[in-house]
Amino acid sequence: MDWHTCSFYVLSVMILGSALMVVSLRNIVHCALFLAFTFMGVAGVFALLHAEFLAAVQVLIYVGAITVLILFAVMLTQKTIGISLKQTNRLAPLAVLSAVTFLCMIAVIALNTTFPTSGQHTVAVSTQTIGSAILGNGSYVVPFEVASILLLAAMVGAIVIARGQDN
């Protein structure tokens, strides 16, 4: 077993374990923290796949911004702090059963399908290729710009809502 596979397994345990904690812990801030760990694990997997740009961006956006967003949302909502949340209700066993069934189905399908793989091992996607893909000739420039406009609209909307009526 080489380091590559070993790292992959460690990271997978980290991701899955943290994800499990997110949905089962009783303290919502702890859940948010474990969500951050999940994101970091995913960034690690990206790094393993030689997509280091994506790994850095994953950390920057998901860990650095989205987690903070979730934490802010949690802390600004009065009634959730210090309360021990009940993560399950009467339907929990049914939910677990259906999730496990779904998982088995997917696993069986996935293992029995031969996915067409490319001849190369892994393609090292450098920052430059991503840049050219987004902004270069005949590329994804239009969707990129549309996405920016969408984000701008969201930002403006948030500011308008946050300013309140009296302004």
Binding site: D2, W3, N27, V29, H30, L33, A36, E52, F53, A56, V57, V59, L60, V63, G64, A65, T67, V68, L71, F72, M75, I81, S126, T127
Partner: protein, 352 residues
């Protein structure tokens, strides 16, 4: 006598497979960086107090050791032997994790700081070096928010959130300001950026395209990022609302202080790398190889650190809403303008 050599020796000594030497190199490099970081903080705190003393017409530390050089050690000892109090209602685990989340990013950035020429003076010259720095610094924010929250103190929660707002606001101009050198060097790797400034004093990025603007925006935004005066409202005896680290005592508090001082050296190092030519000497080819590069690097970083301390002594604190206004309404337009100008410069210069 390189790290790789040592690592291979250790690997063979313990009978580990040859490929594990990579990991041993990593561990050794991490240990060296940690030692360097702690040493830097030690020296920086002492220099700060002496320099502040000189500016403020007083002596600074004089009693602890000759000329007070053991002052930081005395402070560290004091913090170590303090009682480690955790508020009763505080969330213990988060309380303990928060300082780590603030300290570790400050430490991680040292991996890509180019102390000198070649691959043995930088822990790892990542090809996304700059992006890595920006990404890792953003983890800071979680630590701050959690520190404020875990203290179970309304005021420290408010202080923590305010501090977090400051941090995320100033990440934007910092990242934008960094784009200038990236465009001029056409690479995100730190060593490449330094190499692109190799032709003597006027090839330094601070002088190319729009002189000084990118540098100033970066420095000011970074000062806000590390809670440095004049942006230290979250931790100065914040008028009414306590800072996020008010409930921390002893070594946990030391973590926050360590992170701040280490970060102040890091941003000066990065500013020196991006704008002041990194480890190059000002005169092309003169004393520009081997250990001399380390000397130039430290000279520039130290000059910037002293500049930061000078600013600390001179300016009062900015109020929090003025700080946000300043960041969003002044810094970001300036940074965007800088990106535009540098982009035009690069595009026109490349025969566009």
């Amino acid at each position: 006598m390189t790290l790789t050599g040592i690592a291979e020796f250790i690997a063979s000594f313990f009978g580990l497979p040859g490929s594990s030497s990579v990991w041993i190199v990593a561990v050794l490099a991490a240990a060296i960086l940690l030692g360097f970081m702690l040493l830097t903080v030690l020296i920086l705190i002492y220099v700060l107090r002496k320099l502040l003393g000189k500016i403020q017409a007083r002596l600074g530390p004089t009693r602890t050791g000759p000329k007070g050089i053991f002052q930081t050690a005395a402070d560290a000892l004091k913090l170590l032997i303090k009682e480690d109090t955790i508020p009763v209602k505080a969330d213990r685990r988060v309380f303990i994790v928060a300082p780590i989340l603030v300290f570790v990013p400050a430490y991680l950035v040292y991996v890509v700081v180019p102390f000198g020429e070649g691959n043995h003076f930088i822990a790892k010259d990542l090809n996304i070096g700059l992006l890595y720095i920006v990404a890792v610094s953003s983890i800071n924010v979680i630590g701050v928010v959690l520190a404020g929250w875990a203290s179970e103190n309304k005021y420290s929660l408010l202080g923590g959130m305010r501090s977090a707002a400051q941090l995320i606001s100033y990440e934007v101009p910092q990242a934008l300001a960094v784009l200038g050198p990236v465009m001029l060097a056409e690479s995100l790797s730190m060593q490449d950026i330094v190499k692109a400034q190799g032709e003597g004093l006027f090839s330094w990025f601070i002088f190319r395209s729009l002189p000084l603007l990118g540098f100033i925006v970066f420095l000011v935004a970074s000062m806000a990022e590390i809670n440095h005066v004049p942006f230290d409202l979250p931790e100065g005896e914040s008028e009414l609302v306590a800072g996020f680290n008010v409930e921390y005592s002893g070594m946990r508090f030391a973590f926050f202080m360590l992170a701040e001082f280490a970060a102040s050296f890091t941003i000066c190092a990065i500013a020196a790398t991006l704008f002041l030519g990194g480890w190059h000497s000002p005169i092309r080819g003169f004393l520009d190889n081997g250990w001399w590069t380390v000397f130039w690097f430290f000279l520039k970083s130290s000059a910037l650190v002293c500049l930061l301390m000078w600013i600390r002594a001179t300016y009062p604190r900015v109020r929090v809403d003025q700080l946000m206004e300043f960041g969003w309404k002044l810094m970001i337009p300036l940074a965007l303008f800088n990106v535009l100008v540098v982009g035009l410069y690069v595009a026109l210069g490349k025969g566009g």
